[in-house]
């Protein structure tokens, strides 16, 4: 898979605020690439620069081998699905979807055929063609926005948190549909979100942004199990982070792996209650302070006397863990990640 879209040392500032600071990234042909970051991390600005709706103060944007930094959005083979969808509110579903073709001067009957094709792809019933977009539900508007973007036949589709204002159940359905749509169209999808869950479910690769910089790029598995630093580890879900000082795992008073400095990060699912005689690289006594039932799994808060740790146990194995009981807990170093910062 070759690179379809890349940036080199892109920077952007708004007044005194640095939105993007020396951002370089490569997006591969046909992949589902997600940029994740907290609000204010610069991800929306980056997407608008990739789409051509904003120009960078410094740095270049390339589409394959062509420099497109100065090519405006209306002449790029890309299309964006906006956060608020930005549907043309005074028009019908059909008119929205046909907009890009109308601008190109495609005759009405051809536009209509094309629009109906797009509606089939996003699974909108044909009867919606003449309906006003303001009379569609949130999920239907979402599909109209998708169909409108697809109708311009872009090589790359950008998504600016389109699911952020949608309720949980519908969002789960649309996430699955989005991934399915990506597979069926074979187009490159570039998606931004502040939700780790959304990113993990849909993406081939994820880039994590913080304060205008990309902190780490990798597959969801890479980023989840081998985070580059504490920020990524903590951003990507529950994690237990131990500081390493003077050759010891601080707070546990246990010898650290030789030569290791910085931090040790362990995901909750790797903390386990030890049976008699069971061995673990790191072991410590703890009291179960609380339990949090999450359906297929349960989270336990463990009190070691110095701090609270989080352990995750699959539903079937939770029987012998009792709130208030003291026991030996532990984890293996092969399941932990060493972080420099």
């Amino acid at each position: 898979m070759g690179t379809i879209l890349s940036t080199r040392a892109v920077s952007k500032r708004f007044g005194d605020v640095i939105a993007l600071d020396d951002v370089s990234l490569e997006i591969r042909e046909g992949e589902f690439f997600t940029i994740v970051g907290p609000s204010g991390s610069g991800k929306s600005t980056l997407l608008r620069i990739l789409a051509g709706l904003e120009t960078p103060a410094a740095g270049r944007v390339r589409l394959r081998d062509t420099d497109i930094t100065d090519v405006p959005a209306n002449r790029r083979p890309t299309c964006m699905v906006f956060q608020n969808l930005a549907l043309f509110s005074h028009r019908t579903v059909g008119e929205n979807i046909e907009f890009s073709q109308k601008m190109k001067g495609v005759p009405p009957h051809e536009r209509r055929e094309h629009a109906l094709d797009m509606m089939r792809i996003v699974r909108l019933p044909e009867s919606y063609y003449g309906r006003r977009v303001t009379h569609c539900s949130g999920g239907e508007q979402q599909r109209v926005a998708l169909a409108r973007a697809l109708a311009s036949d872009p090589e790359i589709l950008f998504f600016d948190e389109p699911l952020s204002s949608i309720d949980y159940r519908l969002r789960k359905i649309l996430e699955v549909e989005m991934k399915d749509l990506h597979r069926r169209t074979g187009k490159t999808f570039v998606y931004i979100t502040h939700s780790l869950e959304e990113a993990m479910v849909m993406s081939d690769r994820i880039a994590i942004m913080k304060a205008g910089r990309i902190v780490q790029t990798g597959t969801p598995t890479d980023i989840y199990y081998r985070p580059a630093n504490r920020f990524v580890a903590e951003f990507m879900g529950e994690v237990n982070v131990f500081e390493l000082a003077n050759g010891q795992i601080a707070e546990l008073g246990i010898a650290a792996p030789t030569g290791a400095t910085g931090y040790l990060a362990v995901r909750p699912e790797f903390l386990r209650k030890l049976n008699d005689g069971e061995r673990a690289d790191v072991r410590f006594p703890a009291t179960v302070a609380n339990d949090y039932m999450l359906g297929s799994r349960t989270h336990y808060h463990l009190d070691t006397g110095k701090r609270i740790l989080v352990a995750e146990v699959a539903a079937g194995q939770a029987a012998e863990i009792i709130v208030g009981a003291k026991a030996e807990w532990g984890f293996d170093l092969s399941d932990a990640a060493l972080l420099d910062e």
Binding site: L87, T92, M103, S152
Partner: protein, 271 residues
């Protein structure tokens, strides 16, 4: 019992509405009735009912000149204020610039200023600049007062306008001109129509600004005012009735034009 109480309430409500309408229209009907007399004093009932006043008004050169002057001012004010107000309203809707809120307040300030004082101030200003007052300076004076009103009217219609639609259209391959024609103008259109009507009617009926700033040219309200105060004849109410008919025609034409435009839009949607 309940049904009877309801029907009593309904008839009371209808009576109230009729009363409100009557109070609104009685003065205008009185003017129309006054125009059908031939005396220099308002007496009622008339000794003779006649349309002589209308014949005189239509024969008089003044009638045409008055209407033409007021019409020219009103049309000029309408066109300029709609253009200026549209840009102003868009600047409020689209950009979040520093001093935006303060500017919005300052823009509306002339509305609070007593119009005769504003007219006098503008006259002093024109004189200082060596400009001879005429219908053009009156139009300028009207603009000072009317542009804020029209900006307000158009802004209200743009309140729910999502400027992201312009980005979306541009991203979908539209040129800047196509964005303007396909997205911005359709969103502005209802505000522009109501703003234009406001501008025309406010200028057409304005007296306090015109009195000070129109110089040798006389507008309809100015003439009506001076002839009511001195030298009254039934020609005064007659011309008032004619002027009302003219402005009603303008509003009616605008309404017809608007529904035609809507009809065309509707036909396009159905096709």
């Amino acid at each position: 019992m309940n049904g009877r109480a309801k029907s009593l309430f309904d008839s009371l409500q209808a009576a109230w509405l009729l009363l409100v309408l009557a109070l609104l229209y009685i003065p205008m009907i009185s003017v129309a009735l006054a125009s059908l007399s031939n005396t220099r004093y308002m007496l009622f009932p008339h000794r003779t009912w006649t349309t002589d006043a209308y014949a005189d008004a239509l024969a008089s050169y003044t009638t045409g000149t008055l209407h033409l002057t007021s019409f020219r001012i009103a049309v000029l004010v309408m066109v300029l204020s709609v253009v200026l107000a549209s840009f102003g309203a868009l600047a409020f809707a689209r950009f979040d610039w520093r001093g935006r809120r303060a500017f919005q307040r300052f823009l509306l300030l002339p509305l609070f200023f007593p119009q005769p004082v504003l007219g006098l101030a503008l006259l002093v200003y024109f004189t200082a600049l060596g400009i001879t007052p005429s219908w053009q300076t009156a139009a300028f004076a009207h603009l000072v007062w009317i542009v804020p009103v029209v900006t307000l009217v158009i802004s209200i219609r743009l309140y729910n306008y999502d400027v992201m639609q312009e980005d979306a259209a541009f991203d979908l391959g539209a040129t800047r001109l196509q964005v303007l024609r396909e997205v911005t103008l359709p969103a502005l259109a209802p505000g522009i129509v109501s703003g234009a009507l406001f501008a025309f009617l406010l200028s057409w009926s304005n007296l306090p600004l015109s009195v000070f700033t129109s110089g040798a040219d006389t507008t309809l309200p100015e003439w009506l005012y001076s002839r009511t105060a001195t030298n009254y004849s039934p020609m005064v109410p007659a011309i008032a009735v004619i002027a009302t008919a003219v402005s009603a025609l303008v509003v009616g034409a605008a309404a017809v034009g608007l529904s035609l435009a809507r009809g065309r839009g509707g036909a396009k949607t159905a096709a």
